[in-house]
């Protein structure tokens, strides 16, 4: 009986162990696990602080990370939220979940990509691009604008991710901001009528376009980089370089108010905002565009001066997204199934 008892006691001790040990930091992230984890491991090596990473799950929509942060507001478990876009960071600010923190490492990062009050700081960015299949879109005839989703010659050949989630939701809200309510609603209606298929995630768009299920789709630069690295027959267009411009989606580092390891949280944010991390994200599989000038990037990667960017007021877009998620976008996505 004694070994059995010992086994039960040790299991119980292991089971009841709670979080917030000294020398660790809890990081929630909506950035893909495969991209975020190497950065966290590097931070662990440099500082000796253990990172407990809670990544998001994009594809099956059971993310709930932001919701988990909202639900845990009274007694947060997270110290830092590394957001894949600034809109979720802005929502956390509006709900009083984030704390202001001006990191010394933020020097050199353009101010327009960060919250003026310091609740979130933007760094390395992705862009919302059109990924096309080179076998289905001959050279010179590839779609160049988001309005090509409405073009009858591309009927049934375009796809995009569910606009209720991830960066596509930011794109949708930014579109409403850039084009105006009526025009944006017309775009969604006309694209849908033209046979644009709504898929579950950006990763799914990448796979569908790469496999030739669809000729082109709206996705992010990191997904495109993955497909290119895998040797898929795909090409990338930064859309609307002559019109509204391409949507840039910076990462955002957010310090959670009253997190259990606030000091370590600040250290993690200081690390995230360094030029070294921007360089690592540019050179890594994520192929993210550095916001700082002067950070070395791999050959062929676009940098900020190469892009015509869509003008975005993050605070306004965040408010718009909350309204759209319960209204127009919810109804639109319901009709797509």
């Amino acid at each position: 009986m004694r070994p059995l008892l010992l086994c039960v006691v040790s299991t119980a001790l292991l089971a009841f162990r709670t979080q917030s040990q000294a020398g660790e930091v809890v990081v929630y992230t909506s950035v893909d696990d495969v991209f975020a984890r190497p950065i966290c491991q590097q931070f662990e090596k440099q500082t000796g602080i253990k990172v407990k990473l809670v990544p998001d799950t994009e594809e099956t929509k059971s993310t709930g990370l932001l919701n988990r942060l909202i639900a845990e507001k009274r007694r947060p478990q997270a110290d830092v939220f590394w957001s894949g876009d600034p809109i979720r960071a802005e929502i956390l600010k509006n709900k009083g979940i984030s704390a202001a923190y001006q990191s010394p490492s933020a020097e050199g990062l353009p101010k327009e990509y960060s919250d003026p009050e310091g609740h979130w700081t933007g760094f390395s960015a992705r862009a919302k691009i059109i990924l096309y299949n080179t076998k289905l879109c001959p050279p010179g005839k590839e779609p160049t604008s988001i309005f090509d989703f409405m073009n009858p010659s591309w009927n049934g050949k375009g796809c995009m991710a569910n606009p209720l989630f991830g960066t596509t939701s930011m794109f949708a809200a930014a579109l409403f901001d850039a084009l105006g309510e009526d025009m944006a609603q017309t775009w969604f209606g006309a694209a849908s009528a033209n046979g644009m298929k709504m898929l579950s995630s950006n990763g799914e768009v990448k796979r569908a376009v790469a496999a030739g299920d669809y000729a082109f789709g709206l996705t992010d630069t990191d997904d495109a980089a993955e497909a290119i690295k895998d040797g898929k027959p795909v090409g990338v267009v930064y859309p609307d370089s002559q019109a509204t411009g391409t949507l840039l989606i910076p990462n955002a580092a957010v310090l959670i108010a009253n997190g259990p390891n606030g000091e370590n949280g600040r250290k993690f944010i200081d690390y995230l905002l360094t030029p070294e991390v921007e360089q690592a994200l540019a050179e890594g599989e994520a192929a993210q565009i550095p916001l700082r000038s002067g950070v070395a990037v791999p050959d062929g990667m676009k940098t900020l001066p190469d892009l015509k960017q869509m003008k975005v007021d993050y605070a306004k877009v965040a408010k718009k997204l909350e309204e759209l998620s319960r209204g127009f976008l919810k109804d639109w996505t319901a009709k797509q199934r």
Partner: protein, 518 residues
């Protein structure tokens, strides 16, 4: 000193233990009911989007029920009546889909479709793919219940039917007897699909459970998600209750010991050749097809090292959750089984409650724990925000399996043992330790292994409750599958399936070698 005889007598303690056990099982739902005080959470719950999603879910459930019943019942009967080479192995392999997360099978089908160059509107995706995935999970349930029901017919009855009209007559007679329980199981398996969001979401046919997660994840609306979840649970309850009322008494009686020789599988019969063919076809459709999807990207690249690192990172947590859940579920299930004893009414009531618990959406209990943790002081974190919480929630959802194993073990123990122990003044504690525990040990071990496998396949509860940095392997697959390279996802899925198959074989070996010999 408490007499051992109380185990074979009526007593109030039985009601008290059963009521307490079931209260604990339903307790995580109580905080959710608190949210209903704000009626705005319920307004708009049944909107057009949710209605359409529910209709999709019901369509899938009906299709799964029809297919699982049409194919599963005859297969189960053939498996019970006829012996053929590798019968036990094929039966065990047919169980495999039941022990892996449904989303894993959906990933496999999705990969296979792309590898085969099939367009997105083929049978491997959308409605067809979702039905195939869920049927793969429902089929083992129907086959094994039908097989057990057919084996419950006495050998003398099957011999008589055989003599009276040959193999076809025997098959028809057995089918007539098995059909009600087989159909009910298929319907119940169909109902179970209503609470599973993964497959439909991946294959482009999202149902009501996906809609709940949409409210939770995209609209940051915990109250609305809870309202929808409770509504879905109501639908599940409405469908499961009549089935449960029908199945429970039959199952309760079937779990007791019977003094008859059960039907033995026999070889070299006219219909015997159909069985292995049917088994192999089913195995190909439910298991080999998705596995082929995982293997295909590995032909290009084999990232074993990276996949192994991921397995290594998550193995400890996966095992801890499975172990905690298996221990709690097995202990809890067997305690309830002892409380129900041999009383048919108590056993039927318990079984009805167990089926309802099993059919409930897993996210429901997890949401309850989140609510409870939020309003509780930090001192309760070890109970509400730890690995134990995850294990407990998984156990509360899966203990019906252990309880059924326990009822079978208790039901087949001889009543005279407790009576004899009482006459000789054996203390209850000694009787438990030396007789009842030893008798129940094989069933408890198999139940613990099965529970461990089943809870490991659960993603919803772990996703919502896991402490930071303590993800399980299925959750890790769930997290990386959108953006990780296909070979890595394929390798991780293969590792999971191989692990599940290994534990399944171990369970069968334990059952084979440790079961009491007649």
């Amino acid at each position: 000193m408490i007499s051992c005889a109380i185990l074979e007598r009526q007593g109030k303690w039985r009601f008290v233990v059963l009521a307490a056990g079931l209260f604990v099982a339903f307790a995580p739902l109580l905080p959710l009911l608190w949210t209903l005080r704000d009626t705005s959470n319920l307004s708009g719950v049944f909107d057009a989007g949710f209605r359409a999603a529910l209709l999709r879910s019901l369509t899938v459930a009906v299709a799964v029920t029809i297919i699982a019943a049409t194919i599963g019942i005859p297969t189960g009967i053939l498996g019970a009546l006829y012996d053929f080479p590798l019968r036990r192995l094929l039966l065990a392999l047919l169980l495999l889909p039941l022990l892996v997360p449904s989303f894993l099978w959906a990933i496999g089908l999705s990969m296979l479709r792309r590898a085969a160059g099939l367009p997105p509107d083929t049978i491997l995706s959308g409605f067809g793919g979702t039905v195939i995935t869920f049927t793969a999970l429902a089929m083992p349930l129907v086959i094994f219940i039908s097989l057990a029901a057919a084996r419950a017919i006495s050998a003398s009855q099957t011999d008589a039917a055989r003599l009276g009209g040959g193999e076809s007559h025997l098959f028809r007679s057995v089918a007539k007897s098995v059909l009600p329980i087989g159909m009910s199981t298929a319907a119940l398996a169909g109902v179970l699909t209503l609470s599973d969001p993964g497959a439909g979401q991946i294959l482009g046919f999202p149902g009501a459970a996906s809609e709940v997660l949409t409210s939770f994840a995209a609209q940051y609306d915990l109250g609305h998600a809870t309202g929808q979840c409770l509504f879905l649970a109501g639908v599940v309850l409405l469908l499961a209750l009549p089935l449960t009322m029908f199945v429970a008494p039959k199952l309760a009686a079937g779990l007791l010991a019977r003094d008859v020789t059960p039907t033995e599988a026999r070889g070299r019969r006219r219909l015997a050749w159909i069985a292995p063919i049917l088994f192999c076809v089913l195995l190909a459709a439910t298991t080999v097809l998705p596995l082929a999807g995982f293997v295909q990207p590995l032909l290009r690249e084999t990232p074993w090292r990276r996949a192994l690192a991921e397995v290594y990172r998550t193995l400890g947590n996966t095992s801890a959750y499975a172990l905690i859940a298996a221990v709690i579920a097995t202990v809890g299930g067997f305690v309830l089984a002892i409380a129900a004893g041999r009383d048919n009414k108590l056993r039927a009531t318990l079984l009805a409650a167990l089926v309802i618990i099993f059919a409930m959406p897993p996210a429901l209990g997890a949401l309850g724990f989140i609510y409870a943790a939020n309003v509780s002081p930090a001192e309760l974190d070890p109970l509400l925000r730890s690995r134990f919480t995850v294990g407990l929630e998984l156990a509360l959802h899966s203990f019906p399996i252990a309880a059924i194993f326990g009822m079978r073990a208790i039901g087949t123990a001889s009543p005279s043992w407790a009576e004899a122990a009482a006459v000789h003044g054996v203390p209850l504690r000694s009787y438990f330790r030396k007789v009842l525990c030893r008798w129940s040990l094989p069933a408890a071990l198999v139940s613990a292994l099965l529970t461990a496998l089943l809870v490991t396949a659960d993603v919803s509860s772990v996703l919502l409750l896991h402490p930071p940095g303590e993800a399980s392997l299925p959750l890790a697959i769930f997290s990386v599958m959108a953006n990780a390279p296909e070979p890595l996802v394929g390798a991780l899925c293969l590792f999971y399936v191989a692990g599940a198959a290994g534990i399944l074989m171990l369970g069968l070996m334990v059952f084979h070698f440790a079961r009491p010999k007649r």
